[in-house]
């Protein structure tokens, strides 16, 4: 356990010193500032105002930016460290492979999640002081969803880093995965539905297996309890799972997926050449 915390701490401090982290933190902090500056809390869309309105936009931006950021920075850092000889030296020290791998993942999770969360928390605190209503219950569920999304893509990133032998291959793999999941949001599923006339339940199940989609649908559900914007798919989701059931699924499934991917990555890491 001692080595695990040491490895996590090491990764956190290495990341905090990296340029990508400064840029990453700036992007998420900047987004929130810009949303305030452009008066988003004053505007109204589908009945949302104040911080709820800002959170809707912020969460949509997170779906677009967070996964690719997490994937690319993770594979660049992990596969890049291996390529540069960091693993050769650090793993010549008597640190357990499980402690190193999982410590690295938890450390990385901390640095990729914190800027996103702090930007959102900053918006919440600012709203509280500005006497704009803060929906803290929504805030809590959003935080959970963000943790879930971040963890799942971090797991994919760790798996790709363990499987790829160079950072170039790892980056290409990460980008391709993101692209496939993005395409599965709408384009491919739409095609499947139209051409194959699959049962709606099967199509919805495929869609929700995609952590991007499960996150996005859960985010919509928080503000649109009837999921009107989803059309007929809403009946399948709400009839089979209900609102609470679906939110629980959207929180648990990406975490399970990320953990399984990271677990497979650990298996490859432990069984293969370390440097």
């Amino acid at each position: 356990m001692h080595a695990f915390f040491r490895a996590a701490r090491l990764d956190i401090f290495e990341s905090l010193r990296a340029r990508w982290f400064a840029f990453y933190a700036l992007v998420f902090g900047g987004i929130v500032v810009l949303l305030f500056v452009f008066g988003l809390t004053e505007s109204r869309i589908l009945g949302f105002t104040g911080l709820s309105r800002l959170l809707v936009t912020y969460i949509q931006l997170c779906v677009a930016i967070l996964p690719i950021f997490v994937l690319i920075t993770t594979v660049r850092s992990v596969a890049g460290d291996r390529e540069a000889g960091v693993f050769e030296y650090m793993l010549s020290l008597p640190v357990g492979l499980a402690a190193w791998y999982w410590g690295k993942m938890v450390g990385r999770f901390t640095v990729v999640f914190l800027p996103v969360f702090l930007a959102m928390a900053g918006a919440g605190i600012w709203s509280e002081f500005s006497e704009i209503g803060v929906p803290w219950d929504l805030f809590a569920v959003y935080t959970g969803l963000l943790i879930s999304l971040t963890w799942s893509f971090l797991g994919f990133g760790m798996l790709i880093s363990a499987a790829a032998r160079s950072s170039d291959v790892a980056q290409t793999g990460a980008f391709l995965l993101w692209l496939v999941l993005l395409l599965f949001l709408d384009l491919i599923l739409l095609g499947v539905m139209v051409r194959e006339q699959l049962p709606l339940e099967a199509v919805v199940a495929i869609a929700l297996a995609n952590p991007l989609q499960s996150f996005r649908t859960a985010a919509i559900l928080l503000f649109d309890p009837q999921l009107v914007v989803l059309g007929p798919a809403a009946y399948v989701i709400l009839d089979d799972l209900g609102r609470t059931g679906y939110l629980a699924f959207a929180l648990v499934w990406p975490v399970a997926l990320g953990t399984a991917a990271a677990g497979l990555g650990y298996h490859l890491f432990r069984r293969g050449d370390l440097p």
């Binding site: 401090f13 010193r17 000889g85 030296y89 010549s92 020290l93 008597p94 357990g96 492979l97 370390l274």
Partner: protein, 286 residues
């Protein structure tokens, strides 16, 4: 103490180690030499448990891969290329000492002996140090922990003459404690440090021989050199060895283990050497 039993390592279709079998006993100071691609680094990585392979690598009966904690706690390692770590030197030492369960003050002491002011570099990112400073820090970490197996990849390549002398002295202090494995492209770099030479070629052991063990690693030689004429290139080379002089007469000190390397350098200028005196002048007790 260390056994390599028919170790085979293949990367895709390329066989890098082709059935290496070796025994290394306590007291062995081994120069692992060979050209690029001979398999030296791969062999070391197998010993560190970093590569999967066919055959067996055992350290007192334990596999470094399956018993990482127990085996690596006994190994000090200095890589050829220092890792590009952004963390401050103090943090690196803290991490290494914590996972090795050793005293960081001992590592700092060795670093200080090698001529580095630790207080000045403790907050500097490791990656920003010069090549020599990185090397001294990594040597300090390797020698400052209780390890009986020392693995060093071109360890003295970036060290200045004074640091090399201290480094040799530190090695001399522990030469019979365990196994020392030093890799180099050139035998003359490490010949005086070792009592056994293993030459690798195309992934196999081409030569495994004992060498004379008469050079005192702590000795220094006073050298007086006369030249028939001044030569700018030769003067530059002598300055790099810390020699003082001008024109045709130069004086300086050579570390005992460096004598072969020094004579190798002189051999390039034999035509202008008019006189040479090498005299053992100092003996340090480690």
């Amino acid at each position: 103490m260390i056994s390599f039993v028919n170790v085979v390592k293949t990367f895709k279709r390329s066989r890098v180690l082709g059935g290496v079998s070796l025994e290394m006993a306590k007291g062995d100071r081994i120069a692992l030499v060979g050209s690029n691609g001979a398999g030296k680094t791969t062999l070391i990585r197998c010993l560190l448990g970093e590569y999967t392979h066919d055959g067996h690598v055992l350290v007192d009966g334990l596999s470094p891969r399956a018993n990482r904690g127990a085996v690596l706690a006994r190994m000090g390692f200095v890589p050829q290329i220092p890792p590009p770590l952004k963390m401050p030197v103090g943090e690196l030492i803290g991490f290494a000492a914590a996972v090795c369960k050793s005293n960081p003050k001992e590592m700092v002491r060795v670093i200080g002996e090698l001529g580095l002011d630790f207080d000045r570099i403790r907050k500097l990112p490791f990656v920003k140090l010069s090549g020599g400073m990185k090397q001294k820090t990594l040597i300090g970490i390797a020698l400052g922990r209780p390890s009986d197996i020392l693995i060093m990849d071109e360890p003295a390549a970036n060290l200045d003459p004074e640091a090399r002398h201290i480094f040799f002295r530190l090695l001399a202090a522990r030469q019979d404690d365990g196994v020392m494995l030093i890799t180099s492209h050139r035998l003359d770099e490490v010949a005086a440090l070792v009592n056994r030479v293993i030459e690798m070629d195309m992934g196999t052991v081409a030569l495994d021989d004992r060498v004379a063990d008469s050079v005192d690693m702590t000795s220094r030689l006073a050298c007086v050199l006369n030249m028939s004429r001044a030569d700018a290139a030769f003067a530059r080379a002598l300055s790099e060895w810390g020699f003082i002089g001008a024109g045709t007469q130069w004086t300086g000190m050579i570390n005992g283990p460096d004598r072969l390397r020094f004579l190798g350098m002189l051999s390039r200028y034999t035509g202008i050497i008019a006189g040479l005196e090498l005299k053992e002048s100092e003996k340090c007790v480690a």
